[in-house]
Symmetry: C2
Subunit: 341 residues, 2 copies
Amino acid sequence: MSQSGGRRRPPTIHDVAREAGVSRGTVSRVLNGGHYVSPTAQEAVNAAIRRTGYVVNRHARSLITGRSDSIGFLLTEPQERFFEDPNFNVLLRGCTQALAAHDIPLLLMLAGTEDERRRITRYITAGHVDGVLLVSSHSGDPVAEQLRDAGVPLVMCGKPIGVGSKISYVAADDRDGARDMVRHLVSLGRRRVGMVTGPLDTPGGVERLAGYREVLTEAGIDLDERLVASGDYSRASGEAGAELLLERAPDMDAVFVASDLMAQGVLSTLHRAGRSVPGDVAVGGFDDSSAAVASSPELTTIRQPYDRISSEMVRVLIAQIGGDDPAAVILPTELVKRQST
Amino acid sequence: MSQSGGRRRPPTIHDVAREAGVSRGTVSRVLNGGHYVSPTAQEAVNAAIRRTGYVVNRHARSLITGRSDSIGFLLTEPQERFFEDPNFNVLLRGCTQALAAHDIPLLLMLAGTEDERRRITRYITAGHVDGVLLVSSHSGDPVAEQLRDAGVPLVMCGKPIGVGSKISYVAADDRDGARDMVRHLVSLGRRRVGMVTGPLDTPGGVERLAGYREVLTEAGIDLDERLVASGDYSRASGEAGAELLLERAPDMDAVFVASDLMAQGVLSTLHRAGRSVPGDVAVGGFDDSSAAVASSPELTTIRQPYDRISSEMVRVLIAQIGGDDPAAVILPTELVKRQST
DNA sequence: TTCTCTACTGTGAACGCTCACAGAAGCATG
DNA sequence: CATGCTTCTGTGAGCGTTCACAGTAGAGAA
């Protein structure tokens, strides 16, 4: 287990080879999958590795393979959002775990300012990571295109908007999720269904609104623009949105809110206005983040499968590093019924 | 600026040397500080670097120097706390910035579970980072000692508790900060001053309580254990603590809370109990985190200089990597008066 | 037998850099 | 003139690994 002496020079592949009575090449082959190695040699090498406490020197390996065996998790958002939004938490955790299975460490890079973005882009394009998991809801973010043009394997979380061509992404099926929620509200007999949207320069914002409109139209309910307020995913914008809706459409009997955090804001506005939930107004959220169960009443919401999103992001990225073409993955959402509807 | 061809083999130190008409050695010397290099050669090399777009290959460098030129930011807390506590935000940001000045990337490592801690410890001790910035409030965390014993340069945030010997740390002067706050409360004429402490297995928890007791004693006010409730820095524990205090000491006219997040909980309990702040009860927090100004009324609090804490952590760590002995740095706090007192 | 094919193994040559050393040039000192 | 010192420069070796290649042994086919 632990080394005997105090901080000696760590064992090299050479030491292992000598110990096992084989050549460097054979040890290397064992290390890299064990193809074309006899069971006898395999066994001897593994035993020698255990005895010497050998750990592969990643620098030497990277020098020759040209790969760094590490992956960057790049966030081109203001850092505040990273900490405010509970979704990043699960996403980061999921990616860390998925990469741990490949024994790949994750390099978290925060690039909230223009200056940091330049520095980080340079760092990445210099080949210091093999690929990038990019989280950036904003559209018009040039980083994605820069990295793609530099030939860096890249997977985005959420569908990129307004980007010329082929960039991999993994996203939940926003439109379908929105449809499920609004269908649910309509099935409860609600007819004056409002919506607080996400930012409309993001794919999530656009798609969820589209799903909302589709279902109402299908149900034969006329669209009423007074029932739509726009938000930015923050709790405060949820409060403001709900105030606007109550003012313009006091007869509203349900509201679909494009994020749980905003839905919290909606709940507190409704509470102040003396409306009961779900009695007077049914409220549906989106995300199934920790905010959904921290609210009172607990939110009916659309679960985004962040665990699967993160594992898919990792899978697609690793495939792309291995030479595969960019791919898009859309994952299904799920309606989670709780007390707010 | 940008490379001409499409993703050619990147230029090596050899290409730069040829371009500049000097030897590899001279280029290397320029890259590493430029000692023993003539101004002429210096200039030629720099021009060649610019022309070729050369970037040093860190793997090759690391292979020979044995250093990795990267630093780990290790958090051995449950990941939830990382996202809940706004202090981590500023700490991480500060460290990232301080390291950026040295052009050192920061490897964020989250090790919330026992299993992850093992994996990460192995990773670190294998020499993949040059040093570690460790954030872990819990005492009895074996990771710090393990890393120290393995000879890994290490700086902790906050004074380690119960650890045998020499580990570097940077901390705010908790006791002095607590003294300032309680002195402030007493100077307002308050005599029944309560406290909600932090976890008493952390240095911050212990020291702030000690400061509280010292000042009351100095002011000739008898200590009353009914006025002390213990918390765990979470908002919920602030609410519970305040309820306990109100029950045991209804005549309490001030309360010192060991974190702003807990103070938020205290405020909401006081509000529910119909006590006005600061009229009936003055409330003092600790941290000056974003929670302090997000409260209503805004919190009088003790500012922890997280910007300086982070830059000092980086400074001490880099010095230690350079061979210096472990060091302890205690930074002064500052009383910030707002509306809650 | 002889040839071919497969499974396995060892060896030298890289990868791109730093480091130690040798040596050159310039200048002052004995 | 030799000697020493300082400043600068080039060269070979080597860091620990992978990769391409050559080579061996054994099995099966001709």
